[in-house]
Subunit: 392 residues, 2 copies
């Protein structure tokens, strides 16, 4: 693959360039933080109500060099005012206006890196921005790693989830009897058992692939990342997250948009709203690569560098027979890459298997070799986005 | 008041001590980050569906000195496994186990400050940990400010909200018709109009107190912080956040627990679960100071330093006639302080009005003088917690 070969040949150059931003070369060696743990719950058995084996703070690793930030904080993008009744607001007080469909964003800007291209990382279904933070087994998340490599990083919660909230009116109306229960949107969550085949940890629960890169001893921590997801019925169409991502990229004067799984195609659709500010699109294990883009849309997207990233074991049955396998999605993305290339685009597949890197899962940003994968994406950004746009 | 006088006399000492942790003296002067903004929505009128005036990234201020972190990241405390049916999980796949009642926590540890007493900041009703981050008008939140003053800071989302998620089963069961709608828990949200009297910005919407400290031009940003709150019916009793806070303090080998509004009394109840690891309790505008503690409970709480913080205009009618005024809550806290003092405790009220500081609101951590209030709390921690426990 082009990406793989080019990544190898530009790695040294990328490292030299990144040194200049003042963050310095960060290695993955960690030291365990010395915190005394007084009360840790122990493991419960699968399938029965029980305490969950706790990830104690001692399990969270501390890097051996400090993180130097020019800025960090949070803000919202988008949102609209709607008027709701007393009942819709839960009868705490009189009716009035609230804001819905806003998108929460947390950010970190590295000292010396504020002129480098920002990276926006969007999580997948039944998850939140936590996906990109400290991994289930306590290693550095991609959010901090990309910052340490010189990039401002922006991590949203999709509209409808996490700190972005959702519109609660219909639930209170059904409770009050003024709306029929059938009008309720569905809340989705993945079970611990379901993620084994679907996230490609193994063929079945407790049967990991021998080469699995996911930190399976910390599966209970991945389970805690799950939140109910009302995206399919409880969020307006088109999903307000798309416009919010486009507006965020505009406010940043250009950004790399990275999506994962259910949000894997969001960078494409956000870029179509304002192609000029989408400096690069990274689709990490996307749930879909839409087949139906018009020639005009393909022409617009061909102006934006695209990288699609997929892990291993894509032929694994997902346990969700109504949905395509990950291999089918991979092939749909290959087809899209083909269309974009024909239109003159810089579109590439990053398939670690072709580099001899085996066992990566759907949660590739949390896999044991997550920083190895991050390095390949960082090299692509350096080569295809940073140099192209004149930044860094 | 004792707190106020002592705060004044120890301010210089506190600053000297905090200098030693290597973070350095941080001033509140800010420089506005230079980011070009391309697409900003404009204000909509009150009471009609409309776009919300966007806080552009240019409105978010950047400190003039970098933030140097030994560590940052996130993890979960607590949680329990429960088995749910296919329908309860939203029919995406077969039934199985999920985790509920876990508490998400984001943390920052300052370089050189990892031996100082950590501060845990818990948000109030219909809000998330965002309360403590960047203020609605783009200034530094207490989370970063306390870190810059040398303290590790841990910001949870309460169980049932934000990145901690909630148990969605009953909603899907009602949707499917297997549970009656009356079984649904209520979701609460405050309206934009309701917060004017209740959060004590003014007597009525659009009628601010002349001395209001809240950044009223950024009210739309406070509105975006609102999320639906299922705490009253949709979260187990006792609230799992209490045990999670106690466990977090245990894992940290001791912490100051700070609550706000609906969680204002959480530090008290968490401390009762494990008094030895509650190094100090800060109740910021607490919704209640429970009157019913037994003599044994008072004796246990009297061993932990307590600070209660209330703003101005407490007699303002809240617009919620079924609930007590803030002055009534203030007086209930004075009564608790009295009981604790009688039992030999170090319990104090911080009432900025008595220092001539007027106009503070219920959202005191977001008020224009938020760092002035933070300094008073930091001095109290220095004097009553840090010196007492031998840390710092």
């Amino acid at each position: 693959m082009g990406t793989a070969d080019e990544a190898g040949s530009t790695a040294t150059r990328a490292r030299v360039a990144l040194k200049e931003v003042g963050v310095g070369r960060q290695r993955t060696r960690m030291v365990v933080r010395a915190v005394v743990v007084l009360g840790v719950t122990v493991a419960g058995s699968l399938g029965t109500p029980s305490g969950v084996r706790a990830q104690a703070i001692k399990d969270v690793q501390t890097p051996d060099t400090p993180l130097v930030l020019k800025a960090q904080g949070s803000f919202f993008v988008g949102g609209e005012k709607i008027q709701q009744s007393q009942g819709e607001l839960g009868n705490l007080g009189p009716g009035g206006n609230i804001t819905v469909n806003q998108m929460y964003v947390r950010y970190m800007v590295p000292q010396g890196g504020d002129r480098n291209v920002p990276v926006v990382m969007v999580h997948g279904a039944t998850l939140t921005g936590k996906s990109w933070e400290t991994t289930p087994d306590g290693r550095m998340g991609w959010d901090e790693y990309f910052v340490r490599k010189g990039h401002p990083v922006y991590v949203p919660d999709q509209v409808g989830r996490g700190r972005s909230g959702f519109n609660q009116a219909v639930f209170n109306n059904v409770r009050a009897g003024s709306t029929p229960p059938a009008n309720l949107p569905v809340w989705l969550r993945f079970s611990d058992e379901g993620v084994w085949p679907n996230f490609r940890f193994g063929l079945a629960p407790g049967k990991p692939f021998a080469d699995s890169q996911f930190p399976l001893t910390a599966l209970d921590e991945l389970s805690k990342q799950g939140v109910p997801d009302v995206s399919f019925g409880g969020v307006p169409t088109p999903n307000p997250t798309l416009k919010a991502l486009s507006d965020l990229a505009s406010q940043l004067n250009g950004a790399v948009l990275m999506g994962h799984s259910q949000s894997g195609s969001f960078p494409l659709d956000a870029a179509l709203l304002a192609p000029a500010v989408a400096k690069g699109l990274v689709l990490v294990e996307p749930g879909r690569c839409p087949p139906g883009y018009t020639p005009e849309q393909i022409a617009a997207l061909a102006k934006v560098p695209l990288l699609v990233v997929f892990g291993d074991h894509r032929d694994n049955p997902t346990g969700l027979p109504t949905l395509p396998t990950w291999q089918a999605r991979f092939e749909a993305c290959e087809a899209l890459i083909g269309r974009l290339k024909t239109a003159g685009g810089q579109a590439q597949m990053l398939n670690p298997v072709e580099r001899g890197i085996r066992g990566n899962s759907h949660m590739i940003m949390q896999d044991k070799n997550s920083l190895q994968i991050a390095d390949l994406i960082l090299v692509w950004i350096e080569e295809r986005v940073a140099k192209r746009s004149g930044a860094k």
